[in-house]
Symmetry: none
Subunit: 223 residues, 2 copies
DNA sequence: GTCTTCGATGACCAGGATCCGCATGGCGGT
DNA sequence: ACCGCCATGCGGATCCTGGTCATCGAAGAC
């Protein structure tokens, strides 16, 4: 899950970025409005968090522009307490949720989780393929009831595969959602990580869940 | 269940009132300290939520006055992030729990539920993980019956870890709850304090309670 | 229709670079 | 002196790289 954060206060931005990254999201941070909009339109983010008060281009305009392009991804806006009336406009412009600064980081994380859940499928929170279960809230993964320990990247990759199981996921799609902007296209990191996951998830089991679609990419499914 | 909320910020107060009412509590809201105390003494509430910073009479004084009357109902205090030290005084004065503003409303509801449960089934107000016991009322910590001396910060950190045991706590979460808002993100104070705690709690014991979740944060649990 | 060949693609491995967390010593303020 | 905080170096986990080897599938030969 890749998230764009548009926030001009460096400290706040870094704080949010770090918190999200420790929750295993891929995060791009942008401190400028116009640049942020550009990035938002160029990349297929899973969610966008945008401050309303920004240099060069207001958060409100960013939201409007995104929606004008018929991009449906969940947007969360951040407003200062003084601009209470602004957030109504923000929601009208097409934002999905708002948070008033200062906010508790827990709450931001909870909101983002809720937005992403709502966005993909209207599922009950936990993801399940066959006997493989992933709980995004606790980041706990089990197969056949047995706990599986994953590193941050491994987890991020698995979550992406599970959220889009049954569909073929190409390498560009995977890199776009699991890694952030400084990803090098000309490597085989993705294959390597798929291999790591196979070792932890499919190794030694009769029923394989991770399938290779030769010439296209990978797919996670029970068959 | 009837709850009294003493909070002078109209917006926050209304928000809390509404949330509690949606949980089917009966709620009285009061924006003034002296008036609030009067109400607290006049009516038999099941719980009281009180902001520390109030006009006419501070939250601290309210708590003291209520306890002086030997009224045992659970009291939850709300403190601004800047008054981290105040909440210690609040707990000393007889409050049962605290919450730092800004907080997630879900957390407030959870705390209230816990307080009310505690009140009825007289389960002890102490926190316990394995043989590690923390008593918020007396700020006393023991492991295996043996007393452990902690500094203010160490205690604050441990209490936070214990209140959220079994869950991964990221550094941003910890810094937000245990330190105040002008926390410098680019230091390793948190690691240092976790280390201090380890020395006092886990050092020399087979069963470790403080676990590192590499890339994410820390977790307190018995496993 | 079957077999063979061969280029392309992916699996897997080993090692290196990098980042993260731990421990410790030191500094300033109370 | 104690507490809270900061800075640094070290060791190890994690992430990535570059390579070799296995596998697949298309195309051509028989």
């Amino acid at each position: 899950m890749r998230i764009l954060v548009i926030e001009d206060e460096t400290k706040v931005g870094c704080f949010i970025k770090r918190a999200l990254e420790e929750e295993s999201y891929a995060v791009d941070l942008c401190e400028d409005g116009a640049k942020g909009l550009e990035m938002a339109l160029a990349t297929d983010y899973d969610s966008i968090i945008v401050d309303l008060m920004l240099p060069t281009l207001s958060g409100l305009d960013i939201v409007k522009s995104i929606r004008r392009e018929r991009i449906q991804i969940p947007i969360l806006i951040l407003t200062a307490q003084s601009q209470v009336d602004q957030r109504v406009k923000g929601l009208d412009a097409g934002a999905d949720d708002y948070l008033t600064k200062p906010f508790a980081i827990d709450e931001l994380l909870a909101r983002v989780r809720a937005l992403l859940r709502r966005g993909t499928t209207d599922s009950p929170g936990v993801l399940q393929i066959d006997d493989l279960i992933l709980n995004p809230a606790t980041r706990e993964v089990t197969r056949g009831g047995q706990r599986i320990e994953l590193t941050l990247k491994e987890y991020a990759l698995l979550e992406y595969l599970m959220r889009h199981s049954g569909r073929v996921l190409t390498r560009p799609m995977i890199s776009e959602h699991v890694w952030n902007q400084d990803f090098d296209t000309f490597t085989n990191v993705i294959d390597v990580y798929v291999n790591y996951l196979r070792n932890k998830i499919d190794r030694g089991r009769t029923k394989k869940l991770i399938h290779t679609i030769r010439g296209s990419g990978y797919m996670l499914k029970a068959d």
